[in-house]
């Protein structure tokens, strides 16, 4: 009997990130489940750099990243050769609140000069604050084709308009629900930013902390897209690092934390994630080696 495999009509959008003086990378473009077709565009691995290291950051991450300023951290991150960087601006957020949004934008001007890697730029996670902060950061990166995030149902309009004006892609975040994700994509699309320029974030849970929900939503979302649902054909991203290093396990031992981060990342990659944001350089190095084999 002939051994066959499922074939799909749909195709995932291709997302290019970077440009101008920046390097470019791309992801997506598949018409199969992860790695089941050749060639398969491998997922991108991003390393996350925080604008400030807060006291309650994981102790092992602190050991790696603290003691240097943001710009030095960016250069350090770059030395591990990630596909791109995820710059995270939390210092203007209501919890930390040690900088104004204008400060953050100034910091980004300096930051973008020290690296030529493509970047993802995320805010503090507070919908209202991000609505002030992210458009400023977006303006700062005008024309450099970054990924901006995250937009939620609450603040997508302003952020989508800003991405459109400045030529960025937008991360759209919904909590564990394919229909909500589709709805937000449609909303963003109706503002004028096409699904090709959206990066879906279906929420990320670390291994042992609800990973199965995110894993299944990713699989479900990807299957729907492959079966032809255009409005779900955006690429998908997971913030694996920040969730993994919050866990109890990652507070106990650095090695266990790295394993936790890798296992979480790999599960999402198996599910269909196209961009994985990591926090520990060692996880990046090991996962990259693994992805070489998978191609």
């Amino acid at each position: 009997m002939e051994m066959t495999m499922a074939e799909y009509q749909g195709r995932i959008c291709t997302l290019h990130i970077g440009g101008m003086k920046r390097k470019t990378v791309s992801c997506g473009g598949h018409s199969s489940l992860p790695f089941l077709s050749t060639p398969y565009q491998r997922p991108l691995l991003a390393l996350e750099v925080y604008d400030v290291i807060v006291p309650d950051q994981n102790q092992y991450l602190k050991r790696i990243w603290a003691g240097e300023d943001f710009l030095a951290r960016i250069q350090k991150a770059e030395s591990y050769v990630p596909d791109l960087l995820c710059l995270r601006f939390i210092s203007a957020g209501p919890d930390i609140n040690i900088a104004t949004v204008e400060h953050s934008a100034e910091l980004l001007i300096k930051a973008k000069a020290v690296t030529d890697l493509p970047v993802i730029i995320t805010g503090c996670g507070d919908d209202a604050k991000d609505e002030e902060l992210l458009p400023l950061l977006s303006d700062t990166m005008k024309g450099e084709n970054t990924v901006l995030g995250v937009a939620t149902e609450e603040n997508y309009r302003m952020l989508a308009v800003s991405c459109l004006a400045n030529g960025h892609a937008l991360i759209a975040e919904t909590p564990l629900d394919v229909s909500l994700a589709k709805q937000l994509n449609i909303l963003i699309h109706s503002v004028g930013l096409p699904v090709e320029r959206i990066v879906m974030h279906h929420a990320t849970a670390a291994l042992g902390y609800g990973l199965e929900y995110c894993y299944s939503i990713i699989e479900k979302s990807r299957l729907a897209a492959l079966e032809g649902d255009r409005m779900l054909s955006s690429v998908m991203l997971n913030f694996v690092g920040r969730e993994s290093w919050k866990t109890r396990e990652a507070q106990k031992s650095e090695d266990l934390g790295i394993k936790w981060e890798i296992a979480t990342a790999l599960a999402y990659i198996e599910g269909g994630a196209d961009i994985i944001v990591l926090d520990h350089p060692e996880s990046l190095v090991r996962l990259r080696a693994l992805l070489e084999i998978l191609l």
């Binding site: 051994m3 291994l207 902390y209 929900y213 599960a267 693994l290 084999i293 998978l294």
Partner: protein, 434 residues
């Protein structure tokens, strides 16, 4: 091909005799269609109908049982490629691979270590499922001795020599072992006579399917398939294809659980948990690797059909008394689970009050007015917590600190603002609760 409930009903005696435990034949047929019961429950079914139905109500992948009575393991029996389509039924068994070239002393020690290894997942103690002994020494006596040492575990015996396996099998009185050796009529006959599961290995699915057909032509169905793959990429391709053939094409020769050799490679083992292995062979006893794998298995093999909500009410963690802290959170199961596991870590006995917030997480529920001062007050009054503790202090999640004043007015309780993230709970309890 799967039959519908009505098609199955047409094959039943339609006497509504209730011998099957169902009120009507139709009810039984519906249960059969959902594969909730076995056809054997109907004593009056005709031979023809039985033949037809047992073929069509059989899941696309056989369930394989092995191990001992008191520690039986079931693998396979899967019906879907994606857990969200239904659920995965049988989690893969982790087998630690031991070589019989190790000295008896070393082996004894390793086996003792493995016996003592415990992993705690959500209050449940998990242990290593099984061992695999490989006859690297090629010496039958050594192999038999090793098998003897390991016989408290369900076993996978690996040897290419049937005589060696025969002797090892004789040691194992009260378990059904799995045997990975060669494959021929002789081996099938042995496995049939000495109640064993046989592993069919091969370089390609075609080769494996041919051997599987041969086994079934001898009436032997106790099979596990072992596609020998070079790396994670091949593993993904081959295992996915095998399952797709079994499930989408109902191709019987591949309708058996799969064995994956992960060795020392954690990533490959992670892959096998996500993608379709029934048995995962490991060459490590590293606690952190195993904890990672057990946790992942627990996640992937949890039943997605179970609701995301917890029953609202008052839960006891540890043995709380009248002075123990009271924490409140919403009934989103992940939220509850995280708070609970952190409270357990703190070793401070607590009352955990779960509100009826329609299964939303704290912030979502708060935004939707489902985790308001009124909702929490109602929970306090209805839960009976006021009879359980003498104090009137309730710890609320830090991210909804703004509820404090209103809650205090409504409930008459003092609201303590807890941490915003569950992992900070242990420290909070230690420093804020005297």
């Amino acid at each position: 091909m799967m039959l519908t409930g009505l098609q199955i009903y047409n094959q039943l005696p339609k006497t509504n005799c209730r011998k099957c435990g169902f009120p009507t034949c139709l009810a039984f047929a519906m249960a059969l269609a959902q594969r909730r019961v076995s056809l054997d429950r109907c004593p009056d079914i005709s031979a023809d109908a039985k033949k037809l139905l047992s073929e069509t109500t059989r899941p696309p992948m056989n369930t394989i049982k092995f191990g001992m009575n008191k520690h039986e393991i079931e693998i396979g029996g899967e019906e879907v490629l994606f857990r969200h389509e239904k659920t995965f039924y049988h989690q893969p068994a982790f087998a630690i691979l031991l070589s019989d070239t190790a000295s008896i002393e070393e082996l004894k020690e390793t086996i003792e270590t493995i016996k003592d290894m415990e992993f705690e997942l959500i209050g449940e103690i998990i242990r290593i499922d099984m061992l695999a002994i490989r006859n690297d020494s090629k010496n039958p006596d050594t192999f038999v001795e090793c098998v003897h040492l390991a016989q408290d575990f369900p076993l996978l015996l690996i040897s290419e020599c049937l005589d060696t396996v025969r002797r090892a099998r004789a040691v194992l009185r009260d378990q059904i072992p799995i045997i990975l050796g060669d494959f021929s009529e002789e081996w099938i006959e042995f496995a049939l006579n000495y109640d064993s599961v046989l592993v069919i290995k091969g370089d390609s699915l075609d080769e494996i399917a041919e051997k599987s057909k041969e086994a079934q032509s001898h009436g032997f169905n106790n099979i596990i398939l072992y596609p020998e793959v070079k790396n994670i990429k091949e593993a993904l391709m081959t295992f996915t294809q095998s399952l797709e053939m079994a499930m989408a094409k109902n191709y019987r020769p591949l309708g058996f659980p799969l064995l994956g050799l992960a060795g020392k490679d954690l990533a490959l083992a992670v892959h096998f948990v996500c993608k379709y292995a029934g048995i995962i062979l490991l060459e490590t006893t590293d606690y952190e690797d195993l904890l990672t794998l057990f946790t992942l298995r627990f996640n992937i093999y949890s039943d997605p059909r179970k609701p995301l909500m917890m029953e609202p009410g008052l839960y006891e963690i540890g043995k709380p008394g009248e002075n123990s802290p009271v924490l409140v959170t919403t009934n989103f199961s992940l939220t509850c689970h995280m708070v609970r596991s952190e409270v357990e870590t703190s070793h401070v006995p607590c009352y955990l009050l779960i509100t009826d917030s329609e299964g939303l997480s704290v912030l979502s529920a708060w935004a939707a007015d489902k985790f308001s001062a009124e909702v929490i007050t109602k929970s306090i009054k209805n839960s009976g917590v006021e009879q359980k503790v003498r104090h009137r202090k309730i710890i609320i999640p830090g991210c909804v600190a703004s509820l404090k004043a209103k809650l205090e007015d409504e409930s008459g309780w003092e609201a303590l603002i807890g941490p915003g993230d569950a992992p900070m709970i242990p420290q909070f309890l230690r420093t804020h609760w005297v």
